[in-house]
């Protein structure tokens, strides 16, 4: 979910209660369709403590990136279904679809925003 400013129509994810563009506080919830494209990414070998606990590391890097949604908002997310040992083959601009993850974090189970490559066709 994101928020849309009813004054200037700008969309924000994560949602904001004050529009930084026009200072309006008249915001409405907006549901994203969950499709977008990869703007930039990294494959992290030396991860955060939480990710190390989940088994990620030098031999098993994880991919995070910036995704531009069709709704014209950008999010940061985990990128699944790509070969993190061969990052040269991951291409900026590739179409993605949302793929929420359930993961154990420091304070219990949580949902993580993730995307995976959109199947062709």
């Amino acid at each position: 979910m994101g928020s849309r400013c009813l004054a200037c129509q700008a969309v924000f994810v994560p949602p904001r209660s004050l529009c930084p563009r026009c200072d309006s506080s008249t915001m409405e919830w907006e549901r994203m369709e969950g499709r977008g494209k990869l703007v930039a990414f990294t494959c992290i070998a030396i991860g955060t403590p939480a990710m190390l606990k989940l088994g990620y590391g030098r031999e098993n890097p994880y991919c995070t990136g910036v995704v531009e949604l069709e709704e014209n908002a950008r999010v940061v997310a985990r990128i699944q279904g790509v070969d993190t040992r061969n990052p040269g083959a991951i291409s900026v601009g590739m179409p993605l679809q949302v793929d929420f993850l359930r993961e154990e974090g420091d304070s219990g189970s949580r949902t993580v925003l993730a995307f995976k490559p959109l199947p062709e066709g």
Binding site: A40, T42, I44, I46, T64, V76, V92
Partner: protein, 420 residues
């Protein structure tokens, strides 16, 4: 129409000193800060009576977390014998002491104080690497930490955006790293004061003494391409793209312009200062530029009445090699997307048209985060006064700049110093 800003009273830099940068098991914030303070005092040509210092501004990011002690402004003030004069601590992540410098400038420009001590300190090496990483991560945007971003990860992401937009590659990041090592080898205060050739020779010698197979690197780039010698941290960022974990301190002495000659016949003047805030990765419309650096540079250069081309050399915030490319473009030294070519052509080397990070930068001089902003200004001071020895920018430069970044672009400052 943006207001052109100016100081209502001129401010001069009349003393500067820094401690050795490195990882010191047996030296804490007080030891390092005293070393920097003594070096600063010794640098004041006509002598400094500490009784002349009216106030103290200290940049410190997070000794709270790194060594579990807050309130270092007042604690160091006591260490230096400055009590009861006021001590104020500033925090802006890795730009903490650039903020202290700016507050010191304002305090003098307002006429409230005549002489202000500006310092920066960080003591990072006492904890495990994961603890340091966690402490630094606290300056990142919570939303970005949630999905697993690390600092190298943020800059790795910026790098893939830059590569994609401008056709650059890892090889171009290597040019930045090689230059940083070459410069730091000429800086006795630097933490990593060896050229990559020297690093390679030392590693070969160690392999030989342990009876291991000798690596066959033909040149520094071959070394940097070897993922055993230079492992990936957050692709495309590798170990040698990253600054080290550092301890260190730096002290600067600011006075009212009309008082400068009481301290030295060779003062420097604050020609321009700029500071701006930026937003996170996800909210940035273009990942290949730091909005805050561009804004801060405009403000500083407008105030100084100069163009980017007039700046003869600069220290920029190269926490990761890719950051140096963005900053030299955001400062207007090179057009967008041309920075990597300028570095490749040698334009940013000591003998180039625009020497960058003559100190070795954060990458090799070291990055004790709270001390970095002040230490960048220390390098500009050293160069403008002609005291940089083997790494001296030729031609007796008159104008130099320092650019300091906090977090992943949340804070950026630009300072222009002038020798008249």
């Amino acid at each position: 129409m943006r207001k052109k800003r100016k100081l209502s009273r001129g401010v001069a830099l009349v003393g500067a000193g820094m401690s050795q940068f490195g990882m010191f098991r047996d030296r804490d914030s007080k030891d390092l800060f005293l070393e920097a303070f003594r070096a600063m005092t010794a640098s004041v040509d006509k002598g400094l009576d500490p009784a002349d210092i009216d106030a103290f501004y200290l940049g410190n990011y997070s000794n709270d977390f790194f060594v579990r002690q807050s309130h270092w402004g007042a604690i160091l003030s006591d260490t230096l014998g400055l009590v009861p004069r006021p001590a104020t601590r500033t925090e802006g992540a890795c730009a903490s002491s650039a903020l202290a410098f700016r507050e010191g400038v304002f305090a003098i420009a307002s006429g409230f104080y005549d002489a202000v001590l500006v310092g920066g300190v960080e003591d990072m090496s006492k904890g495990a690497t994961e603890v340091v990483a966690e402490g630094l991560g606290m300056a990142a945007i919570p939303y970005e930490r949630e999905v697993g971003f690390t600092f190298p990860g943020v800059f790795g992401t910026i790098a893939t955006a830059y590569f994609d937009k401008f056709g650059a590659s890892r090889e171009h990041l290597m040019n930045v790293t090689i230059k940083s090592h070459d410069n730091a080898a000429r800086n006795p205060k630097a933490q990593l004061s060896a050229t990559l050739e020297e690093v390679m020779a030392a590693k070969k010698k160690r392999a030989e003494s342990k009876g291991r197979r000798l690596p066959d690197w033909s040149d520094p780039k071959a070394f940097l391409r070897d993922t055993r010698a230079n492992p990936v941290v957050a692709w495309p960022i590798h170990l040698f793209d990253c600054c080290p974990i550092s301890d260190g301190a730096c002290c600067l002495l600011l006075v009212g312009e009309e008082l400068a000659r009481n301290f030295t016949d060779d003062p420097l003047y604050v020609a321009g200062i700029g500071q701006a805030s930026g937003r996170g990765l996800h909210a940035s419309e273009d990942l290949t530029t730091f909005e805050a650096t561009r804004y801060a540079a405009r403000e500083a250069f407008d105030m100084a009445g100069i163009a980017a081309d007039d700046v003869q050399f600069a220290e920029v915030h190269d926490c990761f090699s890719i950051a140096e490319l963005l900053h030299i473009e955001d400062l207007g030294f090179f057009p967008a997307g041309q920075g990597y070519k300028a570095v490749e052509e040698g334009q940013t080397r000591l003998d180039g048209s625009k020497p960058i990070n003559t100190s070795g930068g954060l990458k090799c001089k070291g990055h004790p985060v709270g001390a970095t902003g002040a230490a960048q200004i220390f390098e500009v001071w050293t160069q403008l006064r002609g005291d940089a020895g083997e790494r001296q920018v030729p031609g007796h430069p008159r104008l130099g700049a320092a650019q300091n970044l906090g977090g992943t672009g949340g804070t950026s400052t630009v300072t222009v110093l002038e020798r008249r």
